[in-house]
Amino acid sequence: MMSNLFSVFDPSTSIFSLSLNWLSSTLGLFLFPFSYWLIPSRYLVVFNSIGGTLHKEFKVLLGGSFKPGLTLLFVSLFLYVVFNNFLGLFPYIFTSTSHLSFTLSLSLPLWLALMFYGWLNNTQHMFAHLVPQGTPGVLMPFMVCIETVSNLIRPGTLAVRLCANMIAGHLLMTLMGNTGSGLSTIMVSFLILGQICLLILESAVSIIQGYVFAVLSTLYSSEV
């Protein structure tokens, strides 16, 4: 029963006061294809082509700092976020990525690790990054402040962008769905039509947000 509009986001399925809704994050594991046989199935081809395309993209983004295996982290991050986002569109499946605690747990350790590694090992390089190339001399002090702030809010932006997009989408869906019970049949069909369009948008948003998350993480790691 919905006590308020946001109760759809409440991980309240509980046994012994454990929020079991979070187990929906593991549902993504069921979407992985089997690769027992030598010749791939259609799904495995899709999966491999996605992974391969992402690897190529991230390799280009990483540029000179690419080491073999580095893209594995970011491809897995992408897949995890996309699976969680996409599965959340299905009815009765909890969207883990709509919680700041979840998204922050993804972005903050990543960012912290990059900062620690970068500042401790390549301190001069990190300082140099605070002033972009081509900055006029007068603006340099201000650029340092701006770049510092921009650096510091990176985990926040990563987390909040994903979380906010997911909440917005699901909230709209919930709002639209809630009006359905009081409508006549013709109006319900319009509602369904609207919801279909929204669902298309939401599917695109879920994939794009995952991609943005992964690409930005790649870029941040390439700057270290």
């Binding site: 046989w37 010749i39 799904y43 569109l89 009765y92």
Partner: protein, 287 residues
Amino acid sequence: MFVNLNSTRLCSVVQPARIDFHFSSHCWPEKKMESVGMLSRILARSATPRLLAVRSFRTSAPAISSAIAEGPERDTKNFPRQLRPIQPGKVRMGFIPEEWFELFYKKTGVTGPYMFGVSFLTYLCSKEIYIMEHEYYNGLSLAILCIIGVKKLGPSVAAWLDKEVDTYEKAWEQGRVQQLEDLKSAIEAEKKEQWRAEGQSLLFEAKKENIALQLEAAYRERLMNAYAEIKKRLDYQVETQNIDRRISQKHMVNWIVSNVLKSITPQQEKDSLKKCIADLKALSATA
């Protein structure tokens, strides 16, 4: 109804192929060729040795039974080797397995499962065990979207994916197919070489004849030389005899003439002169 993402469309391949690669190089001996006339099998051949690369591929045969070497402890009766299904399991309405429908057939007939489904859903809705709230409308929209998507995009996506799978499979097959072709062409080449080798005997005959001709020519030349030498010597002898005779003749003539001249007395000379004058007078008188 759904795109059959797990379908494989394969013949039953029993297990992943075990593939061994091993190269063996076999150098054909270099044969010296001399082009003889128009015999094509002896005509110009490259003198480079030929490398025959043999890659042996042990892929499992489609039949389950004897092609695979099983370990002695393997129990294939109770735990048979998995066969990869060509098509996925049959489903009705996109996601409900056929077997669930068939469960009802014995008791209720063909309409049984549908009756059960509809009445169960009606029960859930009427007793408000399942409430059609916002998630229901979300689910409905999603279901409609999925159905439209699968119907419209399904076949083309499936066709493209099948093409990709075929490409992948061909790449694996390619090694085996390539090896078969290599072996076939090696057999052809070997046969050709054997045919060529038979032509060598003709070459030997020709060479023998050649040598015989050369020997004959050398013999005849030497014969001519010997003849010429002997002739030279005999000619020399003949010449010396001729010269000897000529000189002696000349000498004899000179000796006779000198002796005759010596023997002519002055009285004889006068007499002869007188006779001559008398003859001349007689002649001039008659003339």
